[in-house]
Subunit: 183 residues, 2 copies
Amino acid sequence: MKLKVVKDSRRAGYARARMAEFADRCRAAGLPVTPQRMAIIAALLGANDHPRAEAICAEVRRRHPHVSLATVHRTLETLCRIGEARKVTTLHDSARYDGNLEPHHHVVCVRCRRICDVEIAGLEDALGGVLTAPGFRALGWSLEIRALCDDCASSGGRAGRSPKSRGADRRAAQFATKPTGSD
Amino acid sequence: MKLKVVKDSRRAGYARARMAEFADRCRAAGLPVTPQRMAIIAALLGANDHPRAEAICAEVRRRHPHVSLATVHRTLETLCRIGEARKVTTLHDSARYDGNLEPHHHVVCVRCRRICDVEIAGLEDALGGVLTAPGFRALGWSLEIRALCDDCASSGGRAGRSPKSRGADRRAAQFATKPTGSD
DNA sequence: TATCAGGTGATAATGATTATCATCCGTATG
DNA sequence: CATACGGATGATAATCATTATCACCTGATA
């Protein structure tokens, strides 16, 4: 199997296509099309850093200053519910959302919390057959690779830290041992 | 590849062995051996349901009523840091911990949040070669299978709900679509 | 246009986790 | 064994993401 980092450049056209059909998808799901929803999906599709609700809210407010953070939270959950977004529940931080619906996985820097999309060719096919565990009906699956990004590795972990992740260094420590292994 | 549910019966001897060497492992990590730590690792190893901090605290308090919930939180993080436990950050609930260090994965019921250990023979080997993403130094990885457990599927989702997971039904809805796919 | 179900904004509430700090205790040393 | 030190602990407050509440608004439909 081969791992490939997904390039951001691919996403512009993808986002445009998704936006073009989003209103129809809402209607298909029986949901009213509101300007807030349009703005929120646009912000999500425009981001490539798996933003949290607060970041999306900030982006949305550039054009719609009145939008409530609660609405952003609610709408992101709604988007997940109808399959227009995915929640990335990484390292027990605040929730991060991903508008990219293509099959892919995530590499997460345990220090700066940067998330990078990766594709692992062949993995979907290889796992497809084992998704039926006895006693469970499988709905989906996700692979998360914990890692130290080059910036953090070389600069002692200070690079790329978001101002929000105050406790990142301490939290990152819990992944310092056990180089390989699954949770 | 073949998926196999890990049986609880295996854990009794495993827990005993882990307890036997735990004090030494603390000393090796430069940590004092305290009764609280002993009680907390014992509670974690004695549980097979990936308990949250609060549940472990309740169990510990049966013998040590004075133990603080904050200590349980701190200690569990410490255990993760020295590689004696793992945090299962599933579906953005409160943190769940796992004392089983054997390579394995998790099937999570999106409704009742029950977590089940599974082994996927061959997956470790198959993925071993791709754990080097450009720009990242891989530390480990985890595979989580979202699923609906048979109890929830047959009883309309009421079975097995913990009293704590009040919002589980609503949250579970976000996984109702997109039967297969990775995050 | 009239109606209504659902959406939204503002705000309070919730709940897990973390910070703080005075005190305690495991460990190493004499 | 006595002492000293540094980390651990308990109690409690603070933080912060998320959710609940509720009055009001608005997109969808007839």
